[in-house]
């Protein structure tokens, strides 16, 4: 049954949210620390994430805002992933039990 162990949805949501949030924060921070090229802006391509994450820009407030956004997205993704995983396992086990009951009934 260990291989059928359930994933804790809350734990996966927290862990995935924290990791994704941290990744975007570090990605933004690296560009900010490196600085913008002369006459240019820092991270023009990463700042395009602002299309999907309103308000996000490659600056320090943007790094924190992006981390919060990714925390929420990661948490939702983690929760959904865990629920789907657990549900599929439950359905599969239920199917096996039903099939066994059916064959038993037919044999009798």
């Amino acid at each position: 049954m260990v291989a059928f162990a359930k994933i804790d949805p809350v734990a996966l949501a927290v862990a995935l949210g924290c990791t994704w949030g941290l990744i975007l924060f570090i990605a933004t921070a690296i560009l900010l620390i490196k600085g913008a090229p002369p006459g240019g802006e820092a991270g023009p391509h990463l700042s395009l994430l602002g299309v999907y994450l309103p308000g996000y820009e490659v600056d320090w407030p943007g790094a924190f805002l992006g981390a919060v956004y990714l925390w929420v997205i990661g948490a939702v993704a983690g929760y959904v992933l865990a629920v789907l995983w657990n549900l599929t396992h439950k359905l599969y086990v239920a199917l096996i039990v039903l099939r066994a009951m059916w064959w038993k009934m037919m044999a009798e």
């Binding site: 049954m1 291989a3 804790d8 862990a15 924290c18 995983w85």
Partner: protein, 217 residues
Amino acid sequence: MTSNSYTGTDAGAEDNLDEELIRATVKLNTWILAGVFGCISGLSLCILTYLSLYSSHPDTGHFLNLLGVFMPGYEVSHAGAWIGLFWGALLGALLAALFYRVYARSIGVQIERYCDSDINSRELFGATLLFDANYLGLALGAVVACGLIITTNWLVFRGTADHSVHAMLLVNYLPGYTISLTGSFVGALELFGVTYLMCLLFSRIYNGVVFMRGRGK
């Protein structure tokens, strides 16, 4: 003697049965993870494409269009969103299956850990999964590193390495990375290291929350 011999055969048969059961479970879990991940990644790409289509931002889909290099037929359009759904689902499922095949090598270790603990068989039925940080890092690190090698060398193979200015932006995060065979291996090694570290952090947080909620044994 006869009794001993019988017990040995019986134990051997039971071991074989256990191995068979673990193999079947790993196969099932691979299918489930591939299915779940395929659905999530396919739908994500489809939604992102539609968001780009209806965004008021000028030239939103320009960079998303570049995915067409790796996913033939994909572009930011209504038809492209559905082609993206197909490719996203296929690639997501393949990567998830590859990941789980490597990670499943930790199942033996996990079973031993459960057997060594004082957990009873009743509790085992409601057991909550704990991640093995080392195997998780190795599995995910290997998948993303392979992904970087394949995508980089695909650009080299197409002969567009010199024009791949966007892929070159990775050098901001992976020093020494270039669009070449050597560069792809340097980048893959660094990416493996970063992913491994992130997996250590992820596992620590996940396992910590599970224990905090009193579900870890």
